[in-house]
């Protein structure tokens, strides 16, 4: 307690110097905090957008780059309805929780017409499980069921953007119709909007506008295509960590079923997440290293100030020793001064870091994720910087020879 008061008095004695040192630490801590908060927010955004593709997703499709000439013999997607049936039959042994065929329009454009209005949208032929896999939620209406699929019912689930383009805003679209290739479809459901803005902004939205999609029974698209082929499988694995194993197993099943004449490949969300973690982690590290350098400079400031202070107060050290201060007493006093500077700087840095995080979160529209870890971490780092910067000067003060110290002016 007494030592704290003495440290405070000593710091007050050199106000400008102390304030500058505090400022150095403040800037360091604030920038480390702002960088880590913003990178955490960014991470959160990327994760929540990746979630719109399904975190447990595996995609399996034909590999056209196969090296064997034999395997290049056929055009086409290389997947058919029997393959789908085979996967369904062996789902649990393959680690599959859900599987849906994905069928795209084959050489025709997905133009939806209603009167003189139209919408050029991305059409997906899928099964009744697809929406749940990619975290699509219905705003109104219903999902198509296996009955609709088996009977090739011309029903569709559309997004709010399409509702607006075809029917104008605020319209209840359920039960309304539109034409695709002169066939009449009925709207049975409208999806809730999805955000992939951040991924879209870096060109990674997967080649589709999340809010301009039409889901139809895959059998319907197949009949419009005039062939029973499937472009790829959307699979949800039971265990996130088994994504690769399931992908490889499905790959093998398909290869065998097509008597080794075709080859297949797969992608997993787990793989994308790993990649994105690596990139985001790298960016965060660069940022934190850069911010840490300012903290380091702040620490140097303290080191410099304490060294000067010890030299200037040589006589005071001698006096203290002559009245009975031990080396430990002297060392504690100077260490405490250094830690006090860095702690005050750290606390101010936390405040400023928090404010700038709030501002940055507003500007970037990233969520602000407050973390007690950052708070504790920043204070611990401040103390550590103070001890590291104060140790050598404090040691030098403690080791001073009392008689020599008393003799200086």
């Amino acid at each position: 307690m007494e030592t704290i008061q003495q440290a405070w008095l000593a710091l007050r004695d050199h106000r400008l110097r102390t304030v500058l040192c505090i400022l150095g630490i403040t800037i360091g801590v604030a920038s480390v905090m702002a960088v880590s908060t913003i990178s955490k927010g960014g991470n959160h955004v990327v994760y929540s957008e990746l979630e719109t593709f399904g975190l447990n997703s595996v995609w399996v499709y034909r590999d056209y780059r196969a090296d064997s000439p034999l395997k290049r013999q056929r055009s086409g997607s290389g997947i058919d309805n029997e393959d789908y049936q085979a996967l369904r039959d062996r789902a649990s042994s393959l680690g599959i929780a859900k599987v849906s065929p994905v069928v795209w329009p084959n050489n025709w454009r997905g133009r939806l017409k209603f009167g003189n209005r139209y919408s050029d949208s991305t059409l997906f032929g899928v099964n009744e499980q697809y929406a749940a896999m990619v975290n699509d939620v219905l705003e109104t209406g219903r999902m198509f069921n296996s009955n609709d699929i088996n009977r090739k019912q011309p029903v569709a689930i559309i997004t709010p953007d399409i509702v607006e383009k075809l029917y104008g805003t605020n319209e209840n679209a359920i039960g309304k119709h539109f034409l695709v290739r002169d066939r009449r479809f009925q709207v049975i459901g409208v999806l809730a909007p999805k955000s992939r803005d951040f991924l879209a902004s870096i060109g990674s939205e997967g080649g589709q506008n999340a809010n301009d999609r039409v889901l139809m029974p895959y059998t319907v698209i197949q009949s419009l295509n005039n062939e029973k082929s499937i472009n790829n499988f959307q699979i949800e694995v039971i265990e996130f960590d088994d994504a690769d194993r399931t992908g490889a197993a499905v790959q093998q099943v398909l290869t065998q079923r097509h008597r080794n004449r075709l080859s297949y490949q797969y992608d997993t969300m787990a793989g994308y997440i790993k990649t994105s973690d690596r990139i985001l982690g790298g960016v965060a590290i660069v940022g934190i290293v850069a911010a840490s350098i300012s903290l380091l400079v702040g620490g140097m400031g303290i080191l410099n100030m304490m060294s000067t202070s010890v030299l200037e107060r040589t006589r005071e050290i001698g006096i203290r020793k002559s009245v009975g201060a031990s080396e430990a007493d002297i060392q504690r006093q100077f260490l405490l001064e250094a830690v006090m500077i860095s702690l005050i700087g750290g606390a101010l840095g936390l405040a400023i870091g928090y404010i700038s995080s709030v501002v940055l979160a507003r500007v970037t529209e990233f969520p602000l994720i407050p973390s007690p870890m950052v708070l504790v971490g920043a204070l611990l780092v401040s103390i550590a910087v103070g001890i590291a910067a104060g140790y050598l000067p404090a040691r030098r003060a403690a080791k001073m020879h009392a008689v020599d110290a008393l003799r200086t002016d």
Partner: protein, 229 residues
């Protein structure tokens, strides 16, 4: 002489300074006994080694050869911390240049030794005030050294030296920075301290100051000599 009567006992104490490759002797075998409660003056020219001797007796400095017993205990080979402890509890210093900490007021300066001896805050305050009262500075307790005259500063230093109730007061030219009238006042104060039972060791080069002591020893060129050199 029975040990309990002797507070300071030096036998053949030697001290050298290293200067490059040269070893310059400062003390060449000092023998000195000081009895408990005695008031002794050490006199000598500047450079005679009297300040070094005083620092060794005050456990502020180390020496190279010989033995030193303080209060019946051999303190020849004490490490820095043990020396600090001894200074804290048993020895009070008074310097020519007062050596008060300029940022602290009189009260805090007097409290300082008690912080290091570990006395609780309350009693520290009380003791420091009482001591400042004893040297006649009760109305100056919140003045910093720059606001005090030389004599007042030295009285604060005396209060500081006495505050842990030491067995020994070491005064190094205590009047050297003061006019003769003020110096006399300070010497009267020191005499009072001695009368109260504390051993006082005075270092000076002025004979009329040494006269306040009961006994004067002379040092010249690092050795005790008989009579004034």
């Amino acid at each position: 002489m029975p040990h309990s009567d002797v507070i300071i006992s030096l036998r053949d104490v030697q001290k050298h300074y290293e200067k490059g490759d040269m070893r310059i002797p400062v003390l060449r075998g000092i023998d000195l006994d000081i009895k408990r409660g005695e008031f002794v003056a050490i006199m000598g020219q500047s450079g005679s080694g009297k300040s070094t001797l005083m620092n060794i007796i005050g456990c502020l400095d180390k020496f190279d050869g010989g033995r030193y017993a303080f209060d019946g205990r051999d303190v020849s080979n004490l490490d820095g911390n043990a020396q600090a402890r001894l200074r804290s509890l048993k020895i009070g210093f008074i310097f020519q240049s007062f050596n008060l900490i300029p940022q602290m007021n009189a009260l805090r300066n007097v409290e300082l030794p008690m912080i290091y001896s570990g006395r609780p805050r309350e009693s520290r305050h009380r003791m420091a005030k009482a001591m400042l009262g004893m040297v006649g500075l009760e109305d100056r307790i919140d003045h910093i050294p720059a606001q005090l005259s030389g004599g007042q500063q030295q009285r604060v230093a005396i209060a500081r030296a006495l505050v842990n109730n030491p067995s020994l007061i070491v005064a190094d030219e205590p009047t050297g920075s003061l006019d003769s009238q003020t110096g006399e006042l300070i010497m009267k104060q020191l005499t009072k301290v001695h009368k109260a039972g504390t051993t006082v060791l005075l270092v000076t080069h002025e004979p009329h100051i040494a006269e306040y002591a009961q006994r004067t020893v002379y040092i010249s060129d690092g050795k005790m000599v008989k009579g004034a050199a």
